[in-house]
Structures are given as C-alpha cells and as structure tokens.
C-alpha cells in the first residue's frame, strides 16, 4: 500500500471525522429533544470538510473561492430566513441549487478530462449529470408551482408520457454512446440539454397534491447525483453524504407514495386530476348542513375530546395562529385537543407539523395517522381545517373512486364532524367527498383563518 503525503493524510482524516459527524447529525434528528444537536454536528462537520479541502495542495488561487463562498453566504442567509409558509418552495429551490452544483462540477470535470475518461468514470459522470440536470429544472418547476408562479394544476397533453420516455431514452442513449466514445465532446451538450428539458416536462404534469412525493423524489435524485459525483472525484466523503441524502429522499418518497396508495410511476406519469372527471357523475341531489361560528363554538365547548385535522387550506390562509388561539381557549375549558396529521397533508413531508410548531402548539399534541385513527370513535368533534382528500371515506368504501385504497384519517367515525371550507367545490384532485353529506357533518363555510377567529371570539364571549 502506497503511503500518502502528510497533508493528504490529514485531509483524509478530517473528511473521516466529518463523515462521522454527518451520520451522528442524522441520528440525532430522530427526536425533537436531540435534533438541534444534530444540526450543530452537521455544521461542525461541514466547516471541517471545507477547511480540510482548502488545505489541498492543488489549490493555487484562493481569491475566487473566497468570493464565491461570500456570495453564496449572502444568498443563503435570506433563504434561511424565509417565512415558514414558504418552506416547501424553499426546499424545492435548494434541491435545484444542490443539483446545479453537481451538474456544473460534472460538466467541468468532463471537459477537463475528455477524451481521457475511463468507461466507469464516464458512466457515473453521465449519471451525475443526467440526474443533476433533471433535478435542477424539475425542482425549479416544483418551486414555481409551490410559489404559484406556475399553475398548480397538472399541465397535461396528449402523448406526454411518450415524449418523456423518448427524451429520457435519448439522454440514456447519448450517455451510453459517450461511455463507449468519451472523446465525442460534441455530444455532451445534447445529453445535458435533453436532461434539462426532461426535468421540466417531468414535473409540469404533476399537481400540487402530489408535491410531497415529488419533492421527496427530487431529494433522492439530488442525493444520488451527489454520490455519483463522489465516484467521479473519488471522494469518500461525498459518496457517504450523497448516499445518506439519497436514502433519506427515498424513504420519504416511499412513505409519501404509500400514504397516497400510489406507485412512483403513477405519481410521475399518472397526471392526477385527469381521471376524476368521470367519477361520481351521478349528480344525485345531496344536501350538506352548514352552521355558524356561534353554533360551532357551542358544540366545541361542550365536547370532551376534539381532534383537529389540518390540511393545505390551513397553510394557504395562514390560520395556524388562530388555530393556536382555539387550542388555548378549548384547553382552558378542559377540552382535550389533539391534532391529527396525515403524512401527505400539505405540500411536503411534515409540512403541517412545522406550521403548528410555529404557532407554539406542543409537538406531543400532534399525532400521526396510525396513532390517532383508533381514537376517532371516542372523539366528540373532528374539526377539519382545509383538508379534503385525506378525510374522504370513499377511499375506504368506494372501489371506483380514484383514491380507493388510500389510507385516510377516519374522521367520519367521530360523533360530530365539522369542516371549514371555502365552498362546496371538490378538492384539489377533483373528487367529491361524501363526508360532507353525512348527517353528523356540519359545513363551516368561509376562510379558515377568519372562521377559526370567529369561533375563538364566540368562545371568549360566552365565557366572559
């Protein structure tokens, strides 16, 4: 075994320590009690890794590095200070930045090395660049949809899947050709361009309700492309970090798609929101009962146990702080209030938890689907705020429903159900929700924030 020069050994040991810190960082994320320590471990690991890299003897020019680090920090600070409601689009944007970095490094490495590139390096480099560039544009599209710069509804056209398949096939074909003939530099830009276009077309047809799965998948791609970059640069640290990020994204994707009872390919190629038009066209005259804030307040204050089911509607109207006031008012009256959170509620994994935590709702009051579903029969009131499909009982009963088989929160088993909603229009996926027509259901029409505020006022008034 040949020995490394001293500096190189020192750098490798620093990288080893950084890898350990990264793994500990994720390990400490398992509980809210240790999670902040996890962030600190990550920060130390990152500083060590960057410091160690600056020791590399190949580095001759530090000016540009310094400038780039400063500019990156200046951009990064506001991105870390965005409002909590903007977290999903911020996350999508950071996937785009990570993927951009990987793609650019891969491209630079190719032009530095070609044609002297071994087959294996060319193969991982192609994988790095294809995954990186499709994640870059795909994440930008996702961020645009979440920021509502782009329409949230799925944009579909005839032959979409065929076009996507051809593009992806084209990129892979060029990659294979480059592996066999790494010197064919003129082909490289085409591979890059096709992958960039593919990323756009892959995400454009995906609707807002599928964003949790898509963001997780893009997260996995970003991690895998970074790991591929680690193979190209022969950097163990990068392989480890990429593998950790990739497995994290993959696990989240699996959890999200299970929570929607859909496969990855169905999310990516299904174009949700298209098939539903024909479903439930019977149009029988169903009636829903509505109630006022005063009536809702009376029922809530008489309850022993209330389960609040938040959804994307709560995020849109930024009702979380009013929900917190409702939680306080009811808790003060001795009502037990808990929050039931469906894995795909909102626009990214854990979205609702962050918003509720922002409003100072204790995290031990937030329960996930498995924890809460058995409790609904003993629940006096289930209060649904801006959630729809995740409470739709057709998922259990109606085999023809497009969401049949999707695990849902069994709010219909509660004694009384209240749904705060703007109007009777079906939810994002365009599926009618029979929950609204049950005898025990009261529809509370209005903006979530305003309506919860009214209930709180009624509760305060009757108390006074």
């Amino acid at each position: 075994m040949n020995t490394l020069p001293v500096t190189q050994s020192v750098i490798e040991i620093i990288y080893l320590v950084a890898s350990v810190l990264f793994i500990l960082s994720l390990k400490w994320m398992s509980s809210p009690a240790t999670a902040r320590r996890g962030v600190q471990a990550g920060e130390v690991g990152m500083l060590l890794a960057i410091g160690g890299t600056l020791l590399q003897k190949g580095i001759v020019d530090y000016t540009m590095i310094a400038i780039a680090l400063v500019v990156g920090t200046i951009i990064g600070i506001p991105l870390g200070r965005v409002h909590m409601t903007a977290v999903p689009q911020r996350t999508a944007l950071s996937h785009a930045f990570g993927a951009l970095c990987v793609t650019l490094v891969g491209t630079a490495e190719y032009y530095l090395r070609a044609p002297d590139v071994s087959r294996f390096v060319m193969a991982v480099l192609s994988m790095e660049v294809i995954l990186g560039s499709l994640t870059f544009t795909g994440s930008l599209m996702a961020a645009g949809k979440l920021q509502e710069i782009l329409p949230q509804r799925p944009l579909t056209y005839r032959g979409q899947n065929l076009v996507n398949l051809l593009l992806f096939g084209g990129a892979v074909f060029l990659a294979v050709y480059l592996v066999l003939h790494p010197g064919e530099k003129q082909l490289y830009p085409f591979m890059l361009a096709i992958s960039l276009v593919f990323g756009v077309l892959l995400v454009i047809p995906i609707g807002g309700a599928d964003m949790p799965t898509v963001i997780s998948l893009l997260n996995a791609y970003a991690g895998l492309s970074a790991a591929a970059m680690g193979f190209v640069l022969d950097s163990k640290l990068l392989i480890i970090a990429g593998a950790l990020d990739g497995s994290s994204g993959l696990i989240l994707s699996v959890i999200m798609s299970k929570a929607m009872n859909r496969s990855f390919s169905n999310v990516l190629f299904g174009g949700f929101g298209q098939l539903q038009v024909t479903a439930d066209a019977a149009g029988e005259a169903k009636t829903a009962r509505s109630a006022t804030a005063e009536e809702a307040a009376a029922i809530l204050s008489a309850a022993n146990k209330v389960v609040v089911v938040p959804g994307y509607g709560m995020a849109v109207s930024q009702a979380q702080h009013k929900v917190r006031e409702l939680y306080d008012a009811l808790t003060k009256r001795g009502v037990e209030v808990v929050f039931a959170i469906h894995p795909v509620a909102g626009r990214m994994p854990g979205h609702m938890n962050v918003l509720l935590a922002e409003a100072d709702i204790p995290y031990d009051r937030m329960l996930d689907m498995e924890e809460i579903n058995g409790d609904f029969p003993q629940t006096d009131v289930a209060l649904v705020i801006g959630a729809n499909d995740v409470t739709n009982p057709s998922a259990r009963t109606n085999t023809t429903s497009p969401i049949y088989g999707m695990p849902i929160l069994d709010v219909d088993k509660a004694r009384t159900v209240m749904v705060i909603k703007r109007g009777m229009s079906p939810g994002f996926a365009g599926i009618d929700n029979p929950l609204y027509y049950l005898d025990k259901t009261l529809m509370l029409f209005g903006d979530a924030k305003a309506f919860v505020g009214n209930i709180v006022r009624e509760l305060g008034g009757s108390e006074g």
Binding site: M64, I65, V87, S94, L237, L244, N353
Partner: protein, 98 residues
C-alpha cells in the same frame, strides 16, 4: 475494475444502509427539518467545486466551479439556518426534565 472503484462501491453500500436505518427512525414530526438538513449536508458537494475553482485548470472549469460553489454555499448556510429555526419551534407541553 479498479480498487478505488470497488472501495467506493463498498462505501456507498454501507452508507446507504446506515442512512436507511438512521432515517427510518426519524419521527414524521420532523420530516420537514430532516429534508432541509439532508439538503444542507448534501451541499458537501461544495468540496469538489472548491477544488475546481482553486486548481484553475481552465477558464470554463473556474467559471462553472465558481457558480457551483455559490449554489452549494447558499444551500449550506440557508439549510442550516432554517433547520435550526424550525427545530427551535418544536416544544413539548410536558415540563422538560432538567
């Protein structure tokens, strides 16, 4: 197959397993901060970009590398800041043990 490649594959396999076992245990409560943290850690790709810029082997490599360093650094800084901000918000209703 070279030995560096084999080493790399072994490391990738082991890190993948560790990642799977560790992340499986993360409560759904913290899935959003988890994603922003892994995002920040993933920006370790900055080390590759730094070397590209510093070695200054070609103008193209320096320019692409500089943009890459900027993109990754903003992810590192922004990712750690927002993860910590989110985690600070998570409080329990039970009195915390001293």
């Amino acid at each position: 197959m070279s030995s560096t490649l084999l080493n790399g594959l072994f490391i990738f396999m082991l890190a993948g397993f560790i990642g799977f076992e560790v992340i499986r245990r993360v409560s759904p409560l913290l899935h959003t901060p988890l994603m922003s943290l892994t995002n920040a850690l993933d920006a370790i790709a900055v080390v590759g970009a730094i070397v590209l810029v510093g070695e200054h082997k070609s103008t193209l490599a320096t320019v692409l590398g500089t943009i890459a360093v900027i993109a990754a650094t903003s992810n590192i800084v922004g990712g750690f800041i927002i993860t910590d901000r989110m985690l600070r918000m998570f409080k329990t209703s039970r009195p915390t043990k001293p």
